[in-house]
């Protein structure tokens, strides 16, 4: 459970890094296509853009990972684990809400970008809880037989 917790937290943090990479890839693709005349903004939602597609998949995967992290935290007995998993989950939900809102109010996209960094940081901090927990349980285990 502990290592699952740690892996999930790391995956969330890694996911955020990938999301940043995908969205940059997506928009450089758009700019390049517009410059070369291959893209004319005709509302073809299904015009293929790998970056956008990956970002929207990531946008579903990261909240799912955060939810899994929260569920695992209930069972993992990591000191502060539930609290940090809940923070990660909350920040991930906020990230989705900001992303959704930004379609209507593009300026909210600024917050979506900044909150992404916050998500990576809290996911990393959550992952580090396992390290602390590891030492405390090790001590606890040595004490049990006595």
């Amino acid at each position: 459970m502990r290592s699952t917790y740690r892996v999930l937290a790391m995956l969330v943090a890694l996911g955020v890094v990938l999301q940043a990479a995908f969205i940059a890839f997506a928009w450089f693709t758009v700019i390049n296509d517009v410059d070369s005349g291959a893209l004319t903004f005709t509302g073809e939602d299904d015009q293929y853009n790998a970056g956008h597609m990956l970002h929207s998949i990531g946008g579903m995967l990261i909240p799912a990972l955060s939810l899994a992290l929260l569920v695992v935290s209930f069972f993992a007995k990591i000191p502060g684990g539930i609290k940090w998993a809940a923070i990660v989950f909350g920040v991930a939900v906020l990230q989705v809400v900001l992303g959704v809102t930004a379609f209507e109010l593009p300026a909210v996209g600024l917050l979506h970008g900044m909150n992404a960094l916050a998500l990576a940081v809290v996911a990393d901090l959550a992952g580090r809880r396992v390290g602390h927990a590891g030492t405390t349980t090790a001590t606890a285990r040595t004490r049990t037989p006595a």
Partner: protein, 490 residues
């Protein structure tokens, strides 16, 4: 110790269920059966009118009986053969897609008002099946060509006959309404022109169908500059048809022009404009009238992109600039008012069509989906009307994106936008551009019984749940979405 561990496990399990069960329920509730009738999907909305009486099929009318004239010899008879084919776009470029009689756009149907038309649709090789919907022509319901609602998709090797009377002069188009988000984009469409009985003398009359194939914008299926020869001083009517999924700007450069018709309806006393563009929504049409300049120059009709346009003028002439005008014509105060044939004092039903966007599950898929009146597909409205009702519909868009809203089988007049009444010529539309943040009030008379789609003509949006149906009480359909023929209208 064991007791505490036990309680902890229980609490953890309870917390897990509290998180997972609501999500699972939302997912499960969003699932749509493989086969369903549009009559059973959605939320009944009576719009303040009386409730439906006698809903069972026995005293109702079946859409398959609401046909055009079955007898009588047609004035115009056409066979359209649909194929999966390569489309030649000119300038050495070609793209894979679908054709009708070997071309995309398919043949232009040029009719005279009052003609009885018979179109035989043959599907030679389009794997998903095809239909033909007569966009903007208010045909009887059985001829409307919506797979799973008014007919079954015409599968490979099958045929279907459409018969209808061209009752109103104007510019229209036709396209497949089976897997339409893919088939229209890839070429399964054509144009329809209905000329008045008393043809205007000597006017050069041409269609400019604007379509984007694989990212390349075309006029009548051709990339680049399309030329039409016309002598100096000759009067011209260009019927611009937007067959794409997004609105575009069109305009006439090099001479003043008038917008003489929108969506097949003539405008009342349109005035001349210059250096001004017109917003043409997806699925919409505008007829632009102008005179070729007498100084020997040519006129350019813009399509919104610099390298594709229609040039009209004498051979070898220098065409006008490709630059898009900055000014945009507002059709709500263009031309002069005229009687509508009804007043809005006596409205029978009032409907709301509020478009939003929200995260959730659509048929089990998580994502960001459109909502109608706050609900996601399949919980979209079924607007119930009785024949003869005067209907006012308020369309409000808070979804962050523009939506070209298309009502089948009817034309509606624009009453107001954002609370400001329309002051120009009556603007009768079948395709209305509703930008983000806008609210339109439209009015129409329910005079064409049937079950009609009322959806976004950015066709991928319709697949994402942006659709509703207008249903006449007592009308039923034997067709189903899904089913053995895999009807999939969007």
């Amino acid at each position: 110790m064991a007791g505490r561990g036990h309680w902890r496990l229980l609490a953890a399990s309870a917390a897990t269920l509290a998180l997972v069960v609501p999500l699972g329920w939302l997912w499960w509730a969003s699932l749509v059966p493989d086969t369903y009738s549009v009559m059973e999907m959605g939320v009944v909305d009576l719009g303040g009118g009386p409730a439906t009486t006698g809903h069972d099929a026995h005293d109702g009318r079946d859409v398959s009986t609401l046909t055009g004239p079955r007898g009588g010899s047609p004035d115009v008879e056409v066979t359209l053969v649909a194929r999966a084919d390569a489309i030649d776009l000119g300038e050495g470029s070609a793209v894979g897609g679908y054709t009708l009689n070997g071309t995309s756009p398919g043949p232009e149907l040029r009719l005279t008002r009052g003609d009885l038309v018979e179109v035989r649709l043959v599907n030679e090789s389009v794997p998903d099946g095809v239909t033909l919907h007569w966009h903007g022509v208010d045909v009887p319901n059985a001829e409307d060509g919506v797979a799973g609602v008014t007919q079954n998709a015409v599968m490979v090797g099958e045929r279907h006959v459409y018969r209808w009377v061209a009752e109103d002069a104007g510019t229209y188009w036709y396209h497949s309404h089976q897997v339409s988000h893919e088939q229209v984009r890839r070429g399964l469409f054509g144009t329809v022109v209905v000329q008045p009985r008393s043809a205007t003398g000597g006017e050069l009359d041409m269609v400019a169908a604007i379509h984007t194939y694989d990212g390349r914008r075309t006029v009548n299926g051709r990339v680049g500059e399309s030329w039409r020869e016309a002598a100096p001083g000759s009067p011209v009517r260009v019927r611009v048809v937007n067959t794409d999924n997004a609105p575009l700007h069109t305009w006439v450069a090099g001479t003043p022009y008038r917008v003489v018709a929108v969506d097949g309806y003539d405008l009342n006393r349109p005035t001349e404009v210059e250096d001004t563009s017109v917003l043409l929504t997806a699925g919409g049409r505008v007829d632009l009238e102008f005179t070729v300049p007498s100084d020997g120059t040519a006129v350019r009709v813009g399509t919104g992109v610099a390298d594709t346009s229609l040039v009209v003028g004498p051979q070898g002439a220098t065409p006008a600039s490709t630059a898009e005008p900055e000014a945009e014509l507002d059709l709500l105060d263009y031309g002069s008012p005229a009687p509508l044939g009804f007043t809005l004092d006596d409205v029978d039903r009032r409907f709301e069509y509020r478009i939003g966007r929200s995260p959730g599950f659509l048929d089990g898929m998580p994502g960001l989906w459109w909502t109608v009146n706050g609900e996601m597909f399949p919980d979209v409205p079924m607007y119930v009307v009785r024949e003869g009702d005067l209907v006012v519909m308020t369309i409000r868009n808070d979804s962050g994106d523009v939506h070209p809203m298309h009502l089948h089988g009817h034309h509606a007049v624009v009453v107001s936008r954002d609370g400001e009444p329309a002051t120009g010529s009556p603007l009768w539309v079948d395709s209305l551009n509703v930008a983000d943040g806008e609210t339109y009030e439209i009015a129409f008379v329910a005079d064409n019984p049937g079950i009609w789609m009322d959806h976004c003509h950015n066709l991928p949006h319709a697949t994402e749940g942006l659709l509703a149906h207008l249903m006449y009480e007592g009308v039923t359909t034997p067709y189903e979405v899904g089913g053995e023929v895999e009807n999939s209208p969007e």
